[in-house]
Symmetry: C2
Amino acid sequence: MTETSTVDEQPGIPARSQTDVVIAGIKGMITDGRLGPGSRLPIERDLATELGVSRGSLREGVRALAILGVLETRQGDGTYVTSLDPERLLSPLGILAELHTPAHAGHLLAVRRVLEAESAALAASALTDEDLAALDAILDEVDGILASDPDMDLERFIDTDTAFHRRIAQASGNPALAGMIDSLVGRTHRARLWRAITERGTVRETQGEHRAILAELKAHDPERARIRMAVHILGVEEFATAHAGDEASDPAP
Amino acid sequence: MTETSTVDEQPGIPARSQTDVVIAGIKGMITDGRLGPGSRLPIERDLATELGVSRGSLREGVRALAILGVLETRQGDGTYVTSLDPERLLSPLGILAELHTPAHAGHLLAVRRVLEAESAALAASALTDEDLAALDAILDEVDGILASDPDMDLERFIDTDTAFHRRIAQASGNPALAGMIDSLVGRTHRARLWRAITERGTVRETQGEHRAILAELKAHDPERARIRMAVHILGVEEFATAHAGDEASDPAP
DNA sequence: GGTGCAAGAATGGTCAGATGACTGAGACGT
DNA sequence: ACGTCTCAGTCATCTGACCATTCTTGCACC
């Protein structure tokens, strides 16, 4: 049985399954420097032999690491280590945004509030005129959407909302922070669409709050930007906390 | 070819591979309410048939969702949806802590600083006498470790350090926040051990800072606790940012 | 009737082999 | 030099068989 020999070869790694052997083996290759960002792995057949597992088990382990953003497979070419950037490694965080239970919506929004307030504060000092013009353009587009009420394109509104938050997060200059916010904001489309549909008034309110945030960003005032962003998200957080028992009650700003 | 029929059955889901079909299919079962926390999935053979894929492809998809904390498989029993708690869904975040490149250590620490400062502030209002006694016991244990210098058990020191931060995060009352901190703190053992070994002085300094944090927590002063925690992590963040090019230079407080 | 144990059924875990789909490199033609 | 085609290499998928683990059920004993 190859499991015994594999455990012997890697003392301290309690391998519970062959797939765990694969995951631990590849992670070890990365941490010990044999593989780095962008490295190509040995072909499946050879790597399976090296790790003492079947090709099927190897594939299961590779698939797991792929969804974690560590590896990417290219059919016909090979399997590669990704850039291991925060954006890559944080993308699985979106599953939390998609699948958490309604009882936890408020908790998640509280985390977002903390992160996004920080990113707004950092961005206030870093935003260029070009960035600010781009943010202005996003909000101008929302004005256009609002002008077509009652036939507002709510899908488009959600997209602009996401773009607004994303742009600010990127301007923070911290890729880990931006990646985290991106994952938390970008994958809640369905719930936010639901809220926009059921509570039309929040669309205008959100736009007003976005304008207030942008004004402080333009003033390059970190603390005011932080406060504006925090209160923007706090409204929705309180809504979510109050409606934690409702079906699909996971709103977002 | 089953891929075509599967795409037809789930319009709007651009399935790129059979495993993607599986992942999207199971996620859909969760979001549309057919499966909930703790639910048992159909057996592999039946589920593969239902989704129109082979058992091997089904397994790859299940494995991917398992490592994301969405599913857990029990041999001989079946495959289950997890509790979908933040703790579960955030555990994959630890991969970021393990595999990010040194260039991003400072970024990650900055995120931790924001999150942990917030958790300290929340905890300051929520900590019970029992919690505070437990935190005191942790730091007393560290005093014992320090007393055995130069034969300090650094592994033990790292464990107590982790326990201290974890206990505070849990006391915040926000499981998403606690889960995130847990994932970011709990999986950086190797790098923190390296720092403790190479810079013995930081062990005493850390203990001093932990004592200061605990004093503010005992005083139930959210803002002072926030500041103490922030400056505690800021020191290491600045160290990491200054040594971003060094090998294994990912320290942590 | 209650308890414990063994056997069998159910189900996930693994492997091997075959075939299909895709990619990149090299050869060839213009 | 550039574009196109071919082929070898490699991942993607499927099938079938066997192994390992867990749970359920039946039976024996008290």
